[in-house]
Symmetry: C2
Subunit: 345 residues, 2 copies
Amino acid sequence: MKKGCPYGTHRVIEPKGVLPQPALKIDNDMEIYDNEILIDVQTLNIDSASFTQIKEEAQGDIEKIKEIMKNIVATRGKHQNPVTGSGGMLIGTVEKIGPALEGKTDLKVGDKIATLVSLSLTPLRIDEFLETRKDIDQVDIKGKAILFQSGIYAVLPKDLPENLALSVLDVAGAPAQAAKLVKPGDYVVVIGGTGKSGMLCLYEAKKRVGVTGKVICVGSTDKSVARAKGANLADEYIKVDATDALALHDKVKELTNGRMADVTINCVNIPNTEMTSILSTKNEGLIYFFSMATSFTKAALGAEGVGKDVTMIVGNGYTKGHAEIALQIMRESETLRKIYEELYG
Amino acid sequence: MKKGCPYGTHRVIEPKGVLPQPALKIDNDMEIYDNEILIDVQTLNIDSASFTQIKEEAQGDIEKIKEIMKNIVATRGKHQNPVTGSGGMLIGTVEKIGPALEGKTDLKVGDKIATLVSLSLTPLRIDEFLETRKDIDQVDIKGKAILFQSGIYAVLPKDLPENLALSVLDVAGAPAQAAKLVKPGDYVVVIGGTGKSGMLCLYEAKKRVGVTGKVICVGSTDKSVARAKGANLADEYIKVDATDALALHDKVKELTNGRMADVTINCVNIPNTEMTSILSTKNEGLIYFFSMATSFTKAALGAEGVGKDVTMIVGNGYTKGHAEIALQIMRESETLRKIYEELYG
C-alpha cells in the first residue's frame, strides 16, 4: 500500500509541489493510501458563494447544474468552483481506514461523518446524481471521497437530523469566531445577518455583548429580516442592499449615535461588500470576513483608500471546538432550531 | 463649483453607487470639486504585484509597459491593474485646493506630497511618459491627479531624498503593523523578508522580540538573502521558493525546534504562498498577509483544509502613524538607508 503525506500532497497532479487546495488538478482514484480514509458519499453541501454562481450560470436549470458540477469534478478531481475558488463539504459513511491511522483516529468503518475540510481539496468521484435541493445548496449523490490524515471531520450527532447538522456544520467557523471576538459592551454589525451563518453569529454575539452592547442585524429582504426579528436575534434590524456602502454607513451611524461598529461580521455571499463593512466599522475596530466572495485586494485597498485603521480578519473555517459550538446552538435555541429545520433541514 | 462626497463617490461612473476603489471606471476630468485637491504629478510608484504583472505581460519592453499603463488609465480613469486589482502611489505638487477644505487641511499650494491612498482609486491623467525605472517600479510622468477629502498623504520630508521617501512610504503599512503585532519572545517568520516591505518588517520585528524571541528571514535568491544577512536584520536566514509550502515548513520546524512561528508576515509579491504561511505558523498563531497577490479563498480554505487554527489578517495599507514609523527607520538605521538608497533611491 502506498504511503501518503498527511496533507495529501501525494494526490496533487498539477502544478507539482503545491498542496491539494491550491492545486488545479488532483488524483481522484479511489484506491486509498496508507493514511487516507475512504468515504461513501451521501450528500454534497456546496459552499453558498459557489452554488449561487453555479445556479446563475445554469439559469436555475437542474440538469445544467448537474452538468456544471460534473465538469468541475472531471477537470479538477475535486469540487472546487473555478470562479469562486470555494468548495463546500459532504456527509457520508466511513468505508475504509488506512492502516497507518490505526490508534490515531477514533473513527470506525460504518461511522456516519461530515467532513469539515473543504470540498475544494477533497478527492471526489461522482457516479450518479440523486436528489438536488437547490434552495439549500445540497445535492445527494452516489460517489466516493477521500479524507486526508490532516482532514477534520465530525461524527454526526444522534440527537439532531442529518441535514440540519450538515447545514450548521457547514458554517461552524462563523459562530465560533464570533464567540471568540465579541466582548461585553461591543456594538456588533452582522452583514448578511439573516442567512445561514449570519443568524448563528447574531446568536453568539447577542450572548456576549450584554446590556451595554448592541447587536445590529443587516439583511436584504423584508421576509428574512422579519424572520430574524421574530426570533429576537438582534437589538436593531436594517434592511439594505449590502453593496450600498454609503446607505449602510448612514444607518449604522444613526443607530449607534455616531460611534459605529466595534466588530463587523460579514456573512454575505455576494461580491462587493468589502467597503460596506469598512465604512460601518469605527477606527481601530475589527472586521471579520466570513464570506467566500470577499476580495483580498478590495478589502486591503478599500480600507487604505478611506484612511480607516481597522483590523480585517480572513474567516478561517476552522477554529478549535467549532463543530461543538455550532451544534450546541441548535440544542440551546428552540426558535433557531425550528428556523433551521424549516429552511435547511 | 460642484460639491463632492468625502469618499469621492461623485467621480464614480460605473457601476453606480460603489466607491471609487471597487469602481470599474471613474471620472478623471481635472476640474476639481469643492473638497478635492489637484496634484501636478511627478512620479508614479506602481504596486509591486501590479508592476511585476505588467512587466511580464510586456516581456520587459519599455514601450509596451507604457502602452499597457496608458490603456489602464484610459479604460478606468485610474491606474488599477485589472489583473491584480492593485494600484500604487504617487508624488507630486499641490496645484489647487478646493475651498471646502479651508481650515480642514494643513496643505498649501506648492507643497510636495506623496499620496498614501492607492492609485487604484485616484483619478489620474497621464499626458506624457518621461523616465521609466522598471527595476524599482517607478515611472516619471507629466500628468494630473485628484486627492479626495478622505485621502491620506504625507508631506515629503526635507531630510530624505524624494525617491527614497516614496519607496518607503509605499510600503509604510507593513512595518507599522509589524510593530503593532510582534511581542517580546515571539518567533517571527517574514516570507519575502529580503524585499522592500520585508526588510522594514524584519527591522521592526527584531526591535520587539528581544533576546527570548527569534526573527527568521525567508528570501528566494542567494544575493538578496546575503544582503539581509549583511545588514544583520534577522536571527536566521532561509533561502527557499516561497511557493514551496512543505520545504519552508520543514526548515522553520528545524530552526524553531518544532514550535513554529508565533507570527508570520507575508510580503511576497507572487501568488500561491498562502499555504506556505499557514504551514509555517503554529496553532493559535497569527499571519499577516501584506502581499497584494494574496487570495482570500486560498487563505481561508487553506487553513481549514489542514485544520490549522490561525488568525489571518488582511494587510491594511493604513494604520495610524504608519508614514512616521516607516520614515523613521531610514533615520535610525544607516545600513538600511544605504541599502534602500542603492536599491530604490
